[in-house]
Amino acid sequence: MIVKTIFSGFGGQGVLMMGVSLAHSGMNKGFHVTYLPAYGAEMRGGTANCTVAIADEEIASPVASEPNFLVAMNSPSLFTFQNKVIVEGTIFLNSSITNDRPHRHDVKVFCIPCSDIAQDLGNIRVANIIMMGAFIKVTGIVTSEIYLNSLESIMGSRKKSLAEINRKAFAAGFDYLKN
């Protein structure tokens, strides 16, 4: 089994954090993982994306030809990557700030208004974790527990207050999608 995911959005939306946290979770579950950020002369409000591969065998290439999952946090990301997604793959869309929808009919699409939910929770910055809640629920790559523990270990103990809001945000995303 090998699963590749592209996370993409504006710089500042926590796109790379989504990738790092998923890669950490995969490693903690005992999988082989690679995390490849797109780096460049980027800035807040510019574009950011990263690719995470998770497999039960050695991962040859960290580059994704045909990702299984695309997490698009804004419209430009959707347009850039939707055609790369594998047939019968899945696209996760931040529908709060994206009026466009994928033109493909051979993929599953989940629209999660993460920015709106984040605002309701009182912190726009957790939109990414809300998306991860939905992502983990649908993909089931790791359990919620492994994900949240990994997230906390990355954030470190100095941000205890963040752990709580992150857990709330994750649950909100997880529960947003009905079974």
């Binding site: 790092v20 490693m27 082989h32 780096y39 460049g40 040859a60 290439s61 960290p62 580059v63 030809s65």
Partner: protein
Amino acid sequence: MNKVLMSGNFIICEAAIRAGCRFYGGYPITPQNELTEYMAEHMRKAEGGIFIQSESEIAAINMIAGASAAGLRAMTSSSSPGISLKQEGISSMAACELPGVVVNIMRGGPGLGNIRPSQGDYFQATRGGGHGDYRTIVLAPATCQELADLTMAAFDLADKYRNPVMILADGMMGQMMEPVTFKKPKPRIYNKKFMLQGAGTGKSKFIHGLILDPIDMEEHNWKLARKYEVISKKEPRHEEYNINNAKMIIVAYGTAARIAKGAIKRLQNNGMNIGLFRPVTLWPFPEQQLRSLSAKVKNYLVFEMSTGQMLEDVRLALQGYADIRFHGRPGGAVPTPAELANVIARVYERTVK
């Protein structure tokens, strides 16, 4: 031993500090800035560790030459244009037989180029790069685990042969994260007589590369050449993948080798038997090891993120024993495994069948 998820640039630093590197001099350049960043924070926590952000790349290489002469394990790092600036210093270290590790996280070139991953510095790294009859050992890691292992090995090789060693990776290796386990480094073996730590009451010692007498200089050159010959015999390393029953072999190193492996796995499902030969040491190039494969396999495809540099070493190794094709993506373009698989499949159909 614990697995940790770290980015390539950080891994090189952590492995270096664990291997006993106690001097780092560097100057920022993308995509290796995280190296300097990590060293700035962690070198001072290591006992006796010294970190200097130098005023230029040239200063950095000369600082590590000095630290090395004084007996410290020393490292500097940069990316392509910065490595060009260091060449005079590397040549000087080779002449003075000073150990030291130079990390090149390659980016697109020539000139300032861009900051995307590329493999255009193969010639510069393997042919010496600076002036004069000298060689540097060049290690080309392809996984984050190898970044850790080869960084430790680089210090051992540098001491063993008293020669600069280059770690040649690219922006992708530097930026990507993979789980890594740091192995226990070997204890340092380096004779004190090569360290300049003050003569005290003893005889004074010199380390110098200026040898004006041509006969003496010739003798020094031959001495170095004999050392390089030993290295060429004893130190080549490579990895083979799926070689048995292969009808065609891809030759690639570093990042390109990983993309090639992904492409090979895709083509296996279509019934194509393709192997991978990955040089781990670029100098010495695993020439004999590659040549011995040509007894069985006659079709080779060299894939590089350049216009064809390692290609020349492959030609020298195979010397007309086999058919050699080339595919390259220079200037910072990184193909996907699917794209490369298409190229390989076309060549396979044309040459193997």
